[in-house]
Amino acid sequence: MTAQLESQLVVGAILFVLGAIGFLTRRNLILMMLSAEMMLHGVAVNLTAFGRYHGNASGQVFTIFVLTIAACEAGLALALILGLYQRRKSLDVQLWGNLGEPDLPQMSTEEGGRFAPQHPADMPILTPAGRMPNSPVVPSNTKI
């Protein structure tokens, strides 16, 4: 059983590192999310292997929690990706390079890196807060 545990830990480590490489190199937003899910798979293999080796059910329960959080993450990530896709009509993550700090070096490879907002639809729409000011806005010909 010992050798089996070590083998499973090796497989978990390889899956985790493959997911990390995918997350760093892919530029498609959806594939970045899938790579993160693959890292979670590596962790889940580790957890169940340790649960089997120690002979209790805690490892499987932890994996159930990992599954729960992965489902939450997938839903939120899809909503965010759809919102981002609507603004730029592309799934390229490098189009959002201008979200970073302005004094950091740009790691972009082509297409000029920074993508300046071109039309006002790119800017976020803020919900107005507080009371509406009434004095200068009211047109003069309205009867109060």
Partner: protein
């Protein structure tokens, strides 16, 4: 330098495997499929010889090799596939192989749940979004990976650290310690600590229908642990799911802003 040379049986297959991944990552021009494939397969065989020795149970060993190779190869294909639809399908293959590993680890309930949640829900939803957003297949940003060399080096460092820790403090260290070799360090993270008891309801108990077996991995054992020891965590997880649902509805694009 000497100690690095001593670790060559550990580092060489990792370097070969990472080199294969680096050659396969999407880039402009042709990729060296044959050389990369040879490198990857030889790295896997080398790793198998060093780290994954066959056990006495032939069926279990064969199943483990099949599922582990399926998971690793599908993972490599997923991160190197330039068409996102095929990459999502390779991710489904990774999920199915990992479910096979769960079955080996006596977790049939978890395997079924993972197939339903991942292959049934997540992959299908992601495929749905890909087909809505990107009908032309691979686009320019899919055909060219971002900084493949740096990412490969980082992955190699991480994997080498993990495997070195496993080699020094893992199962082989246990085997040597049983032979009373004082030079080997103690296996620090694999053995259960002697002074700390596991949670009481998570321990396996005799099955009701078959008293000679314990209920490790059965639905009864998992449920007793989940709703006994981890009840508050279950409530928290339910709350997180509810909050994620509300957040998703709040974040989703409005119909007035137009759909895809």
């Amino acid at each position: 330098m000497n100690s690095l040379l001593e670790q060559a049986p550990l580092l060489a297959p990792l370097a070969l495997g990472i080199l294969a991944v680096w050659m396969l990552l999407p880039r402009e021009g042709n990729r060296a499929w044959i050389i990369a494939g040879l490198c990857g397969v030889s790295a896997l065989l080398w790793l198998t010889k060093n780290f994954l020795p066959p056990t006495d149970n032939v069926v279990q060993t064969g199943m483990f090799y099949a599922f582990a190779a399926g998971a690793v190869l599908s993972g490599v294909m997923m991160i190197t596939e330039s068409n996102p639809v095929y990459a999502a399908l390779w991710f489904a293959m990774v999920t199915l192989s990992v479910c096979g590993l769960f079955l080996i680890n006596a977790a049939p309930f978890l395997a079924a749940t993972t197939v339903i949640v991942y292959a049934g829900a997540i992959v299908v939803t992601f495929l749905f979004v890909i087909m809505l957003a990107q009908q032309g297949g691979a686009t320019g940003y899919d055909r060219k990976a971002f900084q493949p060399t740096l990412a490969s080096i980082a992955g190699f460092m991480l994997l080498a650290c993990l495997m070195f820790t496993l080699q020094e403090f893992g199962g082989k260290a246990i085997a040597v310690e049983e032979g009373e070799d004082p030079r080997m360090p103690r296996p620090q993270f694999i053995l259960p600590p002697a002074t700390v008891m596991a949670n009481p309801l998570s321990q396996p108990m005799p099955r009701k229908d078959k008293p000679d077996q314990n209920d490790l991995g059965t639905l009864q054992g998992v449920g007793r642990s989940l709703f006994g020891d981890y009840l508050f965590a279950v409530e928290l997880a339910g709350t997180v799911l509810l909050i994620a649902t509300i957040g998703t509805i709040a974040l989703a694009p409005r119909r007035s802003q137009g759909t895809l």
